[in-house]
């Protein structure tokens, strides 16, 4: 690590003020992404703004037809939440296959979304469930939030407060793990809500999480694995690396999507 200044604000306003004061300050949530990067000296923020004392950022609530999760809610809390298990069991499952116990005990939904790793699990859920990211400044719809590899719509001084998910009729998440990192080699979240069907693929896209509209249309007509058997995901724009060719990942997106639908029931 490089030396840095450590701040622990007690309000969201104070955190936001600190963030806009310093050009390269970083918010610290669970530290599961930020701290390894700092230890490897791949990141060297001058200031760390620890969010842990900011009130009201943590917890799961049901608000009408929405499930609302505070940005600082840890993966393990989402996994074990009775409310999540009841409203969106697919989300509880997603977190249960995210990382390992140590990561789940520290990492947060806000940190995961702000980071927008192309192989992370949460972005698939937010995009497929048509969730909304609430920040200290505005509400951002899922379709507008994810902007590319490690890029989001968040402004430099914007803080995620919570994420709301419309409770779906059906939803399923299937993850095929990268054998090394255990992030998603391909992960697919499928959801059927009152607003329609959405299919989001993570782990495969060169610009991060993406929707497969053809599958969505097919599933809207017939919610079954069979309905999307004929849908081919194009290999263009798909990640190719040591762990899988683009062809393989594109093929896998189809297989995993069908399994996600089967799981959703």
């Amino acid at each position: 690590m490089y030396a840095f200044k450590y701040e622990k604000p007690w309000s969201l306003a104070a955190a936001a003020a600190l963030l806009s004061e310093s050009g390269d300050a970083k918010l610290l949530a669970g530290g599961q992404t930020l701290l390894p990067a700092m230890k490897l000296r791949l990141a060297g923020p001058s200031t760390i703004i620890d969010l842990s004392k900011v009130p009201g950022l943590s917890g799961v609530t049901r608000e009408g037809d929405n499930l609302v999760i505070g940005a600082l809610t840890k993966h393990v809390e989402v996994m074990n939440s009775a409310e999540v298990q009841k409203s969106i069991p697919a989300l509880a499952h997603l977190v249960s296959v995210l990382g390992d116990p140590a990561v789940r005990n520290r990492g947060t939904i806000g940190g995961s979304l702000a980071n927008n790793d192309p192989s992370a699990d949460y972005p698939a859920a937010v995009l497929a469930l048509n969730g909304t990211v609430h920040t200290n400044k505005r509400k951002i719809a899922a379709d507008d939030f994810f902007k590319g590899l490690f890029e989001t719509a968040l402004a430099a001084d914007e803080i995620i407060e919570r994420v709301s998910f419309p409770v779906p009729e059906k939803a399923g998440y299937e993850k095929f793990r990268n054998p090394a990192s255990r992030f998603a080699l391909v992960g697919v979240f499928v959801a059927k809500t009152k607003d329609g069907v959405r299919v989001a693929v993570t782990g495969a896209g060169e610009s991060g999480v993406f929707r497969v509209k053809e599958m969505e249309a097919a599933l809207a007509k017939d919610w079954s694995p069979k309905a999307i058997e004929g849908v081919k995901v194009s290999a263009s724009g798909i990640i190719a690396d040591l762990h899988g060719t683009a062809d393989y990942r594109a093929h896998l997106a189809g297989v995993i999507a069908r399994r996600a639908v089967a799981k959703a029931g």
Binding site: L40, P179, A180, L242, H243, T245, Y248
Partner: protein
């Protein structure tokens, strides 16, 4: 069998310390006044060092000194060496390029050290390291061993034109060619034995301290063989005379071979400690370990097997290109030669074998021994060839093996080794029963019903362990003898200290060696302590690798215990006024033959030291004996592994459904520890076959430089192993031990790839067989079936 003697599944004495965090590893040690070392490493795979400017870095806070290759050369510190001389076909010696501990003119791989920063704290050292300015003249790199000798390939060392270190051969070329000319059938395979990163749990570390008053140096390091480290650093590097250098390898957290070697960092730590007159501590981080630990394997091989009309194997020939990396590590030359080609006969009676091995330099980390060292590569070649030959001939792979097994002993192979004992059919038959081989077809049909592919694969391996008879290895080019030493110190109160040249870095010697003593002397294992890893305590030792600590290290202890027993009988004789020849020793009691007169162990040990009863001045007081044991042959552990896999053809995901290992390790001291060694070995072999692979891109950057990309086997990747043994005692050592440390890693890759290729229906499945690879293979296999 007593509860703590030979053959008992005693829980490991050392584990209490390890699992409660009270072990003492090198990085746990802090010396007063120590400075931290941090290396400036090359980001380029191949470059000239045009200029190094340390002036700004030297002014940074906490910096004590910054040293470069020029300083090293100025102080006349010698380079690192490879201690095993190999001779090319034309009789010329291998071409070893210089390996300075810090590169001076040229870097040859990413991670090559170009300077070392010494500072009060690690962070200060790291900060200053970033401020060291190095001007590199970047050169093209070569990483693929198959391309290293090509015309126009970048040249690493002037002494080795075309990057060729040696082209060596073994066996009878003419006889082998004749066998192939007369063959009824020839099986051919192209094999890449993938490069592996050892990844011991504890990264390497070194602390060096200079004692100005005595002009002596002490090195604490993560070594599998501290005495050899001392010998090399003193005699070849020229750091200090041997008696002025003490090397201590305390608790060491795994090595798998990678901690046998003498590395630049420990040389630099010693040199720097003397220069700055303060202790110098270096601890590798994981990223550094990926780049600088000696890697394993990395062979490119073409192999052929000839069979006659009766399905008898008549010949085997191989051509292997072995990647040595950027410099020749300590034993690198021996791995693809005498530890590899000598095992190409496998468990089979093969009349003619011819092997050619080209060792080449590339712009990659040095490659040296890694668990199995040469023998996994040989086993993979032989067991893939045999399995594929059986398939091509339409024979059951077990039947084909049975037809060709060596069945009478001793058996002289055409590639040096003389197998001393074994029953290969017994292990295979038992393994086939354990996996329910005859009902495999039913299980396969069941899998197919569920849309899955199922395959089964054999590996009937053999290895040469108990390394090694000194005279034999000397004649093959080794720079050292490979005996082992032991000293037994019995205290007046009867407790026993064993000083051994073997080094435990996870193997459980503190338990198994104590079991031997408990068995022989009838004392509780808690009264036995095992002392190792310190050149000031143990007179000499060759260390632990090559599954040698049981067969060689314990044999030395056994020999010393013989002497202890002889002397103790003499003491007992004086005590009971009887001739030593009339004393019987059993279960810790000395009895005068044919009488009920006896004395206990504790009485005898006390009397050995008070010496009140020694009349006539013939017997020296005390009870301490030493022995050196030099084996007369290698040992030959062998056995059969059977892997059964189920593959999801849609995703390429492999599930290992069953794994059976039946090994013949000779006599077994502690079956629980042996089982643990087998489990760990299989995990590493499965890692090689389906997960692990070090990958450099064309520029020589290590793409798999962290666990994000380098897949280590996890518990969830592995099934519950079914492990058993058959026993033919080793005839060449007093305990009948063959060794078990490497077997799992040697046997398992071939078993798994044989199972996968059996499932997908064709042979072209490279390692690591990742889901992406297997999916593609399964597509091909299914296409074939549909055609």
């Amino acid at each position: 069998m007593s509860a703590t003697g030979i053959g008992a599944a005693v829980r490991r004495k050392e584990d209490q310390r390890f699992i409660t965090g009270t072990g003492n590893y090198t990085s746990d040690i802090t010396r007063p006044g120590e400075v931290r070392a941090y290396f400036v490493r090359s980001p380029h795979a191949h470059a000239t060092i045009d200029k190094i400017d340390v002036s700004a870095a030297k002014r940074m806070p906490g910096v004590v000194d910054i040293l470069t290759g020029a300083d090293l050369a100025g102080d006349k510190i010698g380079g690192l060496i490879c201690g095993w001389a190999i001779t090319s076909k034309d009789g010329t010696p291998m071409k070893m390029g210089a390996h300075p501990a810090i590169a001076a003119d040229k870097v040859r791989c990413v991670g090559d050290a170009v300077a070392v920063v010494l500072a009060e704290t690690l962070l200060q050292a790291r900060d200053a390291a970033e401020a060291v300015q190095v001007d590199y003249g970047v050169l093209p790199a070569v990483v693929d061993p198959a391309k290293a000798t090509a015309k126009g390939a970048p040249q690493l060392h002037d002494v080795a034109p075309n990057n060729l270190i040696y082209d060596w051969h073994l066996g009878d070329k003419a006889a082998t060619e004749a066998a192939f000319a007369a063959a009824k059938h020839v099986t051919k395979l192209d094999i890449i034995n993938n490069r592996l990163v050892p990844n011991a749990m504890e990264p390497r570390a070194a602390i060096a301290e200079y004692d100005q008053g005595n002009d002596a140096l002490t090195l604490w390091n993560t070594s599998q063989n501290p005495h050899v480290a001392r010998l090399v650093i003193s005699a070849f590097v020229g750091m200090a005379p041997e008696h002025k250098l003490r090397v201590i390898a305390p608790d060491v957290g795994g090595g798998f071979g990678s901690k046998i070697f003498i590395y630049p960092e420990e040389v630099v730590a010693l040199w720097a400690a003397r220069r700055v007159k303060r202790p110098v501590k270096w601890v590798s981080d994981r990223s550094e370990a990926f780049l600088t630990d000696a890697h394993g394997r990395d062979h490119v091989t073409h192999a052929e097997l000839a069979t006659d009309a009766n399905h008898k194997i008549t010949g085997l020939r191989v051509h292997t290109i072995a990647n040595i990396g950027s410099y020749m590590s300590t034993f690198s030359s021996s791995v693809p030669t005498y530890l590899y080609a000598t095992l190409l006969s496998g468990q089979y009676a093969i009349p003619a074998i011819y092997a050619e091995v080209d060792a080449v330099y590339t712009n990659t980390a040095p490659v040296d021994a890694y668990r199995g060292a040469g023998r996994p590569e040989a086993t993979f070649v032989v067991e893939r060839l045999v399995e594929v030959a059986a398939r091509e001939l339409g024979l059951d792979p077990a039947e084909f093996r049975r037809k060709n097994f060596v069945t009478s002993f001793p058996h002289q192979t055409p590639v040096i080794m003389t197998y001393d004992a074994g029953d290969y059919d017994a292990s295979m038959t038992k393994a086939m029963e354990m996996i329910d081989y005859k009902n495999f077809g039913k299980r396969k049909a069941e899998s197919e019903k569920n849309g899955k592919l199922r395959g089964i694969g054999f590996s009937t391996y053999i290895e040469a362990c108990g390394i090694a008879p000194s005279q034999a290895v000397g004649s093959l080019g080794a720079g050292v003898g490979l005996w082992e030493s032991a000293e037994v110190r019995v205290n007046p109160t009867g407790s026993v200290e064993i000083l051994t040249g073997s080094h435990s870095h996870g193997q459980g010697h503190e338990t198994t060696f104590a079991q031997l003593v408990s068995d022989r002397l009838g004392v509780p294992i808690d009264t036995v302590s095992i002392v190792h890893g310190d050149t000031d305590k143990v007179q000499f030792g060759m260390g632990t690798y090559g599954s040698r600590s049981g067969a060689v290290g314990m044999s030395a202890i056994s020999k010393a215990l013989d002497k202890i027993e002889d002397k103790a009988k003499k003491v007992a004789g004086y005590m009971m006024e009887a001739a030593a020849d009339d004393i019987e020793f059993k279960d810790g009691k000395f009895t005068v033959k044919g009488t009920d007169k006896s004395v206990g162990w504790g009485d005898v040990t006390l009397n050995a030291y008070i010496a009140h009863k020694f009349t006539g001045g013939q017997l020296e007081p005390g009870l301490k004996e030493g022995a050196f044991y030099d084996p007369t042959n290698f040992t030959f552990p062998a056995g059969c592994h059977l892997a059964e896999v189920e593959i999801d053809p849609e995703t390429g995901k492999i599930t290992i459904a069953n794994w059976v290992a039946v090994d013949d390790f000779g006599n077994i001291i502690n079956p629980m520890i042996v089982e643990g060694q087998v489990h760990g070995g299989i995990a590493q072999g499965v890692g090689q076959a389906m997960l692990e692979g070090a990958h450099y891109n064309a520029d020589g950057q290590l793409v798999t430089g962290s666990f994000m990309d380098y897949a280590m086997p996890r518990a969830a990747d592995l099934p519950s192993f079914k492990v058993d043994t058959t026993v033919t005692p080793c005839p060449s050592n007093p305990l009948g031990i063959k060794g078990c440390g490497e077997a799992g890693a040697i046997a398992s890759p071939a078993a798994l790839i044989n199972a996968i290729t059996n499932a997908v229906g064709h042979e072209n499945v490279p390692m690591p067989a990742t889901p992406s690879v297997v999916w593609k293979a399964a597509q091909g296999g299914m296409k074939k079936a549909a055609e």
